[in-house]
Point group: C2
Chain length 294, copies 2
């Protein structure tokens, strides 16, 4: 009885501390989500405001390859800029032709094992590397694999995780047609394609003094680079599957001996389309369904 009597105030105090801890943690979570800096008075902005903003690494720099950011220790002098300039009728024709070319691009899962000259791949990677990036950090590593044994190891890792994905992790609504699902995790193209490109994102860089270098907007930068890479592929008549392998990032990083600051983002098998390649009969949205003009 006496013990019970003594326990009550103790339990009350413990309970208050636990509730207080929960409230603090909830508040921290909200704070981290809605602002990049230390203390933030967002004014009249509501929770919805922060949900409307890009969910990217918060960066000072809103321009992707904004280069004279104060983050750079040395100034970069400004130099005049010039590039090819076309008459309007030439611009119009070029814009039509480029659209025609890119509109033929499709995701192709049937890739020929016919070799592709290495120099073409080099030029495609160089082209991808011209993408803008946060504070010109160029946070990409393109791992190009042509070794058959390594390709096969990659295939095994990816297929195993995909199978687990479908069987264990997907919600019930996905387990409707097992035969159809089985096809989904077989990735023959990972063996067939003459090259696999694995795009790694450098989550941070290393400065000459050994300190970490922030890589702003690295996720956006990597994907923009991938878009340019796809255009470069289409330009030479090669095909790919733009895939983001789930749950095998670490295994692939270790297999390819990439450092801990690199995260696998995309896996693209490259090659000529197989002669019997097929695609789903899909249509793209017309302009009026994706553009609003003001």
């Amino acid at each position: 009885m006496t013990i019970l009597t003594a326990l009550t105030p103790v339990l009350l105090v413990v309970l208050c501390l636990v509730i207080g801890f929960m409230l603090v943690k909830t508040q921290e979570a909200k704070t981290i989500k809605s602002s990049p800096g230390k203390s933030q008075d967002l004014g009249p902005m509501t929770q919805q405001d922060s949900r409307d903003d890009p969910e990217t690494s918060p960066g000072v720099d809103e321009d992707c390859d904004y280069t004279d950011s104060i983050e750079d220790e040395e100034d970069h002098p400004q130099v005049p800029y010039s590039q090819p300039c076309y008459p309007e009728d030439v611009m119009l024709k070029r814009s039509r032709d480029f659209y025609t070319l890119l509109n033929q691009r499709r995701t192709i899962r049937f890739i020929s094992s016919k070799p592709v000259p290495r120099e073409i791949i080099d030029n495609i990677i160089r082209t991808a590397g011209t993408a803008p990036s946060g504070a010109h950090t160029e946070p990409w590593t393109f791992v190009v694999v042509s070794d058959a044994a390594v390709k096969h190891q990659i295939r095994e890792i990816v297929e195993k995780e995909e199978m687990i994905n479908y069987q264990q992790r997907m919600g019930y609504k996905w387990v409707k047609d097992l035969s159809k699902l089985r096809t989904n995790w077989i990735k023959q193209y990972l063996d067939d394609a003459p090259y696999l490109i694995l795009i790694f994102r450098q989550t941070y860089g290393i400065l000459p003094n050994g300190q970490k270098k922030t890589h702003y907007y690295s996720e956006i930068s990597i994907s923009i680079s991938c878009g340019i890479l796809l255009a470069a592929l289409q330009n030479v008549g090669l095909v790919t599957v733009t895939s983001t392998p789930l749950n095998c990032g670490l295994q692939l990083r270790l297999l390819l001996k990439r450092p801990a600051n690199e995260k696998l983002v995309m896996l693209l098998p490259l090659g000529y389309p197989a002669s019997d390649a097929t695609v789903p009969d899909l249509k793209r949205k017309p302009l009026e369904d994706m553009m609003v003009y003001i």
Copy 2:
């Protein structure tokens, strides 16, 4: 005394419930982070594994425009695929020329107000719309603004937030050179450029029956689309700044009357470069610094 005695077991029970609730919430947070489905046995995977994986909306579908996913209620028949095929020497030349073209692309903050024919912009948007997307959801809305008053309103919103950003939200290391910073939040090009393109991401779609439609990998899809858009711009000799405006997503969404499921991702002013345009004297990484060959 009697009340205190009676309270002890009650407080004990309440305390256990609160602690149990906290544990459940913590477990849910870990679960959501590491896998898309319901219950997940990740096997020997460690916390680092999940950090190695793409931080994108978890989707069943790892291929960006994987279209015959079980998510699609109707089957899409397979049709033969064909596209232009070039001899190797032509491929090589095309790859070199495309790299030369894209390597000239820079972020340009000095944009001429010279008008650009509307049809060219339409073709550029169509081209961006050829990007792959998760389960072929095409989760993009391109808002193209040429109205001078609306452009000015956009400029005011963006500049105000940028100024607050620099003054309040940046860490101390950013407040080194105020005069330099002041330049950073003045966006003259938002008034000068004949067009502003605001790319909105549809976080989810709406099915004919009114239900929500999941948009897998929408963040990656939008950025890939942006990469293709940048290539299309460079192809016709137009320039832009690839910017991701911070903290003004809601204001801009409301200004442009976009629905709640759309989030602003990027803002690109388009036009010819100004005759006196300059760029920082930067170099891009050589191939050996961004590519690993296996």
